[in-house]
Symmetry: C2
Subunit: 219 residues, 2 copies
């Protein structure tokens, strides 16, 4: 079959989120190995790049539908294809971004998203000073134009990089305007109806982990 393992003859088994989160890291490395002309890679070796258990890697790759051969490993090129397909990184994902401040500008300019098929095609703001400008070729429109443009361009992903005070309100608008998935960078949790996907990316969470480890380092 395709994109997920089958459990007996019941519904497809959901892929664990930790697995999904590890996959892009595999893909990044595998693309590099491919560029270097490496043909095969074994799970133990792949695991050593990430300090993971080899069986973990095998299982993760199996979720994507990849199979390896004993004594040989996986075909790098095939694996790249499988992961790109599984993750959807080989398809085009156009997104609208609301909040053209520092963070928003950085995300727009961030070349790396291309590797994942993601493209921010327009930004929106309510600040008159920002409207009409463009950021590395991406136009900044008045938020009032979001609905019309999103409908016409069939945009399903919305990115929120506003201050946290505005985030929930923007999310509500996005939901009303037909956005299917919201990627929120404001440091609050936003609420959406169950049919809408929301992913909060809280940069503080990572910082908290670092500081905690730093504090505990002397034990």
């Amino acid at each position: 079959m395709e994109k997920s393992l089958m459990h007996k003859d019941k519904k497809p088994v959901a892929v664990p989120e930790p697995t999904i989160r590890r996959m892009p890291a595999y893909l990044t490395l595998l693309r590099q190995l491919k560029d270097e002309g490496q043909e095969f890679i074994s799970a133990p070796r792949l695991a050593s790049f990430f300090n993971l258990d080899p069986t973990q890697v095998v299982k993760d790759l199996a979720y994507a539908g990849a199979a390896g051969r004993p004594k040989v490993g996986y075909v790098v090129e095939k694996l790249v294809e499988i992961l790109e397909e599984f993750l959807g990184f080989n398809r085009k994902h156009e997104a609208f971004l609301v909040g053209a401040g520092f963070l928003g500008s950085a995300l727009i300019q961030y070349q790396g998203f291309r590797e994942a098929g993601m493209k921010i095609v327009a930004a929106f703001d309510t600040d008159k000073k920002k409207i009409g400008k463009d950021i590395s070729g991406v136009p900044v429109f008045d938020l009032a134009k979001f609905r019309d443009l999103a409908g016409r361009l069939h945009i399903s992903i919305g990115i929120i990089t506003t201050p946290s005070s505005a985030a929930q309100q923007i999310a509500d608008l996005m939901v009303g305007w037909g956005i299917k998935a919201i990627w929120n960078f404001a440091p609050i949790s936003i609420k959406v109806p169950p049919h809408v996907i929301v992913q909060d990316t809280h940069i503080y969470a990572n910082l908290a982990v670092i500081l905690n480890k730093l504090n505990n380092a002397g034990r």
Copy 2:
């Protein structure tokens, strides 16, 4: 005692990472509630903001050393203090950043880090065009100056926002120069000796989760 629960009379129990990662979100909301003048908050109510199980919140807060009162909840102001102290967000954390590109510039300009006591005090690059400039008041130095400045300013946190091809090399240098914790934004996993803390922040991981949910939405 202080910052972690005691297990019998043995060593302090490590605080689960998921707990650490949730705490900044609690703190952000609690600061907001405090600003709004709210005096008390119950765990069930706090949990509702994040769609979490109330007992989860109670346990998380207990790890930080917070106690609530039945029928009343927690004192918001006290809770803010406890979490800030536990997370170290009320202390100053000075960091050096290497890689003054779009992402690096965005992190430097990102006001939000202040809320966590984090300050990027200098940036470094090897690109002559960038050296000597400043980004919102933060100077960009030649990478060659990192070691001397880090030693004199007692910097223990290094942030990597270089292209992935350079990241491991920069990490090695940082380790040699006495950096204790590395926050890596390049989309690869970097390797460091066991005494050095490393936190990889892979933005693709979040994107992968979103795309996966979007793909599975029609089931």
